[in-house]
Symmetry: C2
């Protein structure tokens, strides 16, 4: 599935209420899902972890819809290499640990 | 771009160091990007907001690589309708506000 296709799917499914809710309140629900992902990783609950990744991504996309951001266009910054060093296999000296 | 294609791109670009770092420390960098997204939304900094969405998504995908989760497969839970109510246009009574 294309990133843009998933964003359209989530837009169709949830956008009416998302736009009414606005970005700040939508961020709260997104942050709740981030917390649930942290919990699933910490518990090494593998089946639930995959579900929580999906939910975080869905809420991130919802938030992008509210903000009017095209996520597939936005990630083009990674298409030709790491935004930091420009290499396809990153050689940046930061965030190593 | 397919979700899986982006995940492979990020895997190629960053996975060697990601796997050395492990999930807990990788989550810290992901959380930092979530904070930067919150800041960009709060400041209504539209150009930066799109960049921050891309970075949060890239770190989410990095974390999925470390955890061995196929994000495109995981989001199939949304393909046939809202996981809560089963409808293509969600009618759940929760998370309305």
């Amino acid at each position: 599935m294309h990133i843009r296709e998933f964003q359209h799917l989530i837009d169709r499914m949830y956008s009416q209420r998302d736009r009414q809710r606005g970005p700040a309140k939508t961020f709260l629900w997104f942050a709740e899902e981030v917390g649930e992902l942290a919990s699933a990783i910490a518990r090494k609950d593998n089946r639930n972890t995959a579900q929580e990744f999906a939910d975080v991504f869905a809420w991130l996309v919802t938030l992008a819809n509210v903000e009017g951001v095209d996520l597939e266009a936005a990630v083009s910054k990674y298409a030709d290499g790491c935004p930091g060093c420009g290499e396809m296999v990153c050689r940046c000296e930061e965030k190593l640990t």
